[in-house]
């Protein structure tokens, strides 16, 4: 095969638009941008609370601006995409065994949603009491 000219196809930059599963994958990965945004947003929030009541109030006012609201809504959608896909993939990523038997995927997913509900409930209680 010394003189054989192999044809090497190039991968298009738009490879991820060709299949629905690829598109969903890339959207899931792009949720990382919004997670980074929320780290910044929440840090700014915590800093404002640390400064003064006036700073806290100013932050809430700033956060109600249209562009911030839109960003947070879009970001929340992407974060929920992250949550749902992460929970669904966990059973595939880990072989969980209890009492010598493999735990069915449904239980692992259900357990995670339970954790989500518990944590959410706890945060609501902590903050609004």
């Amino acid at each position: 095969m010394t003189d054989l000219r192999l044809y090497r196809p190039r991968v298009s930059t738009w490879w991820w638009t060709r299949k629905r599963s690829y598109l969903l994958f890339v959207l899931r990965e792009l949720s990382s941008i919004f997670i980074a945004w929320f780290v910044v947003y929440l840090l700014l929030f915590v800093r404002a609370v640390g400064q003064s009541e006036a700073a806290y109030q100013r932050f809430l006012d700033w956060a109600s601006a249209p562009w911030v609201t839109v960003l947070n809504v879009v970001g929340l959608v992407f974060v929920l995409l992250h949550t749902v896909t992460w929970f669904n993939l966990t059973p595939q990523a880990m072989a969980v065994r209890m009492a010598g038997r493999p735990v069915p995927a449904f239980h692992i997913v259900a357990g995670q949603y339970t954790g989500l509900v518990v944590v959410s409930g706890f945060v609501i209680w902590l903050v609004t009491r």
Partner: protein
């Protein structure tokens, strides 16, 4: 294994950050990103919120949350740049992404430190 390996540990932090983001971010954004600023719910009383945030356990949890979520998003975005935009300067991308995570972590430490000291 004779050499120290960083990649497996970064992946572990990525995974931990992913779990934390999946479980904590939805409610945190719903409350602090939308409900309170837009007035759907009355914002918490300042003194109460300040007390909750300066509680030592809260500071520790927030530190873990922000640092691990920073690493998570940096790690994921790094591979998105490799696979999505097919950027070939891989080391540059890695340095920029994890560098941003380090900046985020330092900022977290700074903010939480000031908060803890001022309480």
């Amino acid at each position: 294994m004779s050499r120290r390996r960083v990649e497996p540990l970064v992946w572990l932090m990525f995974s931990a950050g992913g779990v934390l983001a999946a479980v904590f971010l939805p409610i945190l954004i719903l409350l602090f990103g939308l409900a309170f600023p837009l007035g759907w719910l009355d914002p918490p009383d300042y003194d109460h919120l300040h007390a909750v945030l300066t509680y030592p356990l809260t500071l520790v949890v927030l530190l873990g949350l922000f640092v691990l979520m920073s690493v998570h998003s940096a790690h994921r975005f790094r591979y998105t740049l490799y696979d999505g935009l097919q950027i070939k300067k891989k080391r540059t991308v890695a340095v920029l992404c994890y560098g941003a995570a380090i900046v985020g972590s330092v900022a977290t430490l700074a903010v939480l430190w000031v908060l803890a000291r001022g309480s």
